[in-house]
């Protein structure tokens, strides 16, 4: 951990939050540089190279969810749904303009479209959902995630000489011309998306995400959102518009999940909305990243997302045990961090520990 020490020395004058944020950025940049060096010297196996973009995808969506869970203080079980919206919107765009647009511009536009689509859906979902609280909000976001997946699986979209065709029944009812291009074939999803994303783009997107989220947290809006989390009634009483600020945070979070979806879609040439990749299970997996990394701890989410994506691949064959271990970790983390007894116990332990330390220092 030498880099930590150097940074700490050089930045004594900067405020604590800024320092903390710089460490987070630095960590990502450093990891990027190390990986790039290792890749260019041929020291990284194909397996790890193939995992680099998924790392970025899951880091972004974990940070996005942490914004909802940690900062807004609401449990969303529908983030895989927002990811799904971003992925499909951008994949359809990229496929439609596969031949007619250069790669870089196309990906940039796809990114904006994916993020915007997810933000729009997040906004629309947020209006009704954020009126609810606690368990209800969780279950409704879960329902929304399932609805999104369900609709995309029944959606047929094609383009030909006479324009766009769409149907909710089957491909035959599109009545497409012979040379038409199928964009979404219901459950068969989108096939042939150009592989436009790469590790560098992924890391840039992580940095952008971090920039947005960290600045958000430290902005006026962010503080308003956190005050709602900590005490809604008090926040309301000082004139904070609860719904508005909640909606802002939720929309930002959804659109970042959409960005992760864009990255996901442009890394694979097939895109299906399966229960496994965009269903409730994925939402839970992202939640595991957030919980394990520490709720509200952005850096923790990054590390947890990378580790938990890497481990099962390195330990291929243990996949049956993976989810079991996640489940146990989830329960244990919750009891350890949130149980009133455990909190009391830790407080006492800390008091003793720090108390001794302070005494020593004074002596």
């Amino acid at each position: 951990m030498p880099e930590y020490g150097i940074m700490e020395d050089g930045m004594k004058k900067v405020s604590k939050t800024t320092k903390n944020n710089l460490i987070t950025y630095g960590m990502v940049v450093l990891a990027y540089i190390i990986v790039q060096i290792l890749v260019s010297t041929g020291h990284v196996s194909s397996l790890i190279q193939g995992l680099l973009v998924p790392f970025c995808t899951y880091v972004i969506v974990a940070v996005a969810l942490n914004l909802t869970v940690g900062i807004l203080g609401e449990l969303s079980l529908g983030h895989a749904g927002f990811m799904c919206v971003g992925a499909f919107a951008s994949a359809v765009f990229s496929l439609a303009f596969k031949e007619t647009m250069p790669g870089g511009l196309r990906f940039f536009l796809a990114l904006i479209i994916g993020a915007a689509a997810a933000a729009l859906v997040g906004f629309l979902v947020g209006i009704p959902v954020l009126r609810l609280r606690g368990d209800y909000l969780a279950i409704v976001t879960l329902a929304f995630g399932e609805i999104i997946k369900n609709i995309i699986n029944a959606l047929y979209l094609g383009v030909d000489g006479s324009g766009l065709h769409f149907s909710m029944k089957d491909a035959l009812s599109l009545n497409m011309e012979e040379d038409g291009l199928m964009l979404i074939k219901g459950a068969q999803g989108v096939t042939g998306t150009p592989n436009d994303s790469n590790f560098t783009i992924g890391v840039v997107l992580i940095l952008v995400t971090l920039f947005i989220v960290l600045n958000f947290i430290n902005s006026r809006t962010g503080r308003a959102v956190m005050s709602i989390r900590d005490n809604r009634i008090a926040a309301e009483s000082v004139g904070i518009n609860v719904t508005k600020y909640k909606l802002i945070a939720f929309t930002v979070s959804a659109s970042l999940a959409g960005v992760a979806g864009v990255l996901y879609a442009h890394n694979l040439s097939t895109l299906n909305a399966l229960p496994k990749n965009f269903g409730y299970n994925m939402s839970i997996l992202i939640l595991v990243f957030v919980v394990l990394g520490g709720i509200g701890n952005i850096r923790g989410s990054i590390i947890a997302a990378v580790l938990l994506t890497l481990l099962p691949e390195v330990l291929r064959g243990l996949s049956d045990y993976r989810m079991l271990i996640y489940a146990i970790v989830l329960i244990a983390m919750m009891i350890f961090n949130w149980s009133p007894n455990a909190i009391f116990f830790r407080k006492r332990l800390k008091q003793r520990f720090i108390g001794n330390k302070k005494l020593k220092k004074e002596a």
Partner: protein, 417 residues
């Protein structure tokens, strides 16, 4: 204070993880990596099979060179039956080939990786196989995974032949071929079979609209049914989240007076449909595709319900030709169950690779790109007599040409019809 400490520790862990993650791969050259992945592979499912192949590797004193075939399929999860069958079938072929002296004097090694039916995992598995040093790819077993991986094999120029990836796009790239029929082929062949044999004129379809395979077959079936003057009286879709209650779809089929229900779906749902149809007193013929293969192995399923079910599959385990009899005997000995069509596809895949490799004169010192180019050219020139068809040939598109066979379940076994 606590938070700071925690983040310090986490940052440390992160750096350590990154370094060790990359470090281990840094230290492992191809040899180490292969040892590691081989271990993983044996850990996944069939320790016995891998050990046996290791033994045969030692027993056949060839020229020492190896030919590495990578395989990918679902070995865990809901579709594990297919992946494991394809893996076992491939392994039997590999063992036989090694006993007979290998391919061009090279010993064949098979490393079969799990993809959990997830396209992303499948690409990861492919990358792991590249680290192992795979020279050709036997996979993927399922369509969506196969499509995702074929984009990568095309990029790397690795020869790919899928045993059972039936979606059209699986073989869109020049370097990709398949053993099984394509979905459209199965759909239109089913309609033709029903029409030509006069099985029914009013047909109901129950299909999984959230599944690539099922909706792909349904579309082509519907298109071809019109030509065969088959009337589709009801088409009931279901989705992956809603696949235990088929009362609505069956009720619709019954009300519409269907004489035959076409089930282009997998066997687990089909077993439920058969049970529920029997419950509601709906007595009708059922016709399916290769996904129905395996229905007799559903644990605790009343197989008498499957009596009379017809399915279009290229492989019948009770066929009396020498090749099938021998394969079924070996498979039963080794794995203790009757092989299904996926096992036969896996077996044929390895023999097709062998035929193409011998035609192209593949040698141990060729790079993957050279192997790919040579095999791609050779594929259109070979003819394979396999378990899933006689005189199978391929054209440059990657599609096989072979005659479809239909089997009917009679007295609890698949019987050719």
């Amino acid at each position: 204070m606590k938070k700071k400490m925690l983040s310090l520790v986490l940052a440390g862990a992160m750096t350590a993880a990154m370094l060790t993650g990359c470090g281990s791969s840094a230290s492992t050259g191809t040899n180490d990596a292969s040892a590691e992945t081989a271990e993983d592979a044996s850990a996944t499912e069939d320790t016995a099979a891998t050990e046996e192949s290791a033994e045969t590797t030692e027993s056949t004193e060839s020229n020492g060179a190896t030919f590495k075939i990578g395989g990918i399929g679902p070995l865990t999860g809901g579709a594990a039956v297919y992946g494991i069958a394809a893996m076992n079938g491939s392994q039997i072929a590999v063992d036989e080939i090694n006993e007979a002296g290998g391919i061009n004097g090279m010993t064949v090694e098979l490393n079969f990786q799990d993809d959990e039916l997830d396209a992303e995992k499948s690409v990861n598995a492919y990358n792991a196989l590249k680290d192992w040093g795979a020279q050709v790819l036997d996979g993927c077993v399922t369509s969506a995974c196969s499509i995702a991986v074929s984009a990568k094999t095309a990029e790397d120029q690795m020869f790919q032949i899928t045993p059972s990836g039936s979606a059209v796009e699986c073989v869109a790239n020049d370097n990709a071929f398949r053993i099984c029929f394509s979905d459209p082929n199965q759909g239109s062949a089913s309609a033709q079979y029903i029409g030509e044999n006069g099985l029914a004129s009013k047909v109901a379809v129950i299909y999984d609209s959230s599944d690539v395979y099922s909706s792909g077959i349904y579309e082509k079936f519907a298109a071809e049914a019109a030509n065969q003057s088959i009337e589709i009286v009801s088409a009931g879709a279901f989705t992956a989240d809603n696949k235990t209650d088929f009362s609505v779809q069956l009720q619709q089929a019954k009300d519409a007076g269907a004489e035959l229900v076409f089930l282009p779906i997998y066997y687990t749902e089909a077993s439920l449909i058969l049970t529920q149809a029997a419950d509601m007193g709906f007595d009708v013929d059922f016709f399916g595709c290769d996904g129905l293969d395996g229905i007799l192995n559903v644990e605790n399923f009343d197989t008498s319900l499957a009596e009379g079910v017809m399915l279009l599959t290229p492989f019948a385990a009770d066929a009396t030709d020498d090749l099938t009899v021998q394969f079924v005997t070996t498979y039963k000995e080794k794995y203790g169950e009757t092989p299904n069509q996926f096992a036969a596809d896996g077996y044929d895949t390895v023999y097709t690779i062998k035929a193409a490799a011998e035609k192209a004169g593949i040698t141990a010192d060729m790079s993957n790109e050279e192997i790919c180019a040579a095999l791609t050219a050779a594929m259109t020139e070979i003819t394979v007599d396999g378990l899933t068809g006689e005189g199978i040939t391929w054209d440059a598109s990657g599609e096989p040409t072979k005659a479809p066979k239909a089997v009917v379940i009679k007295d609890g076994v698949y019987t050719a019809m």
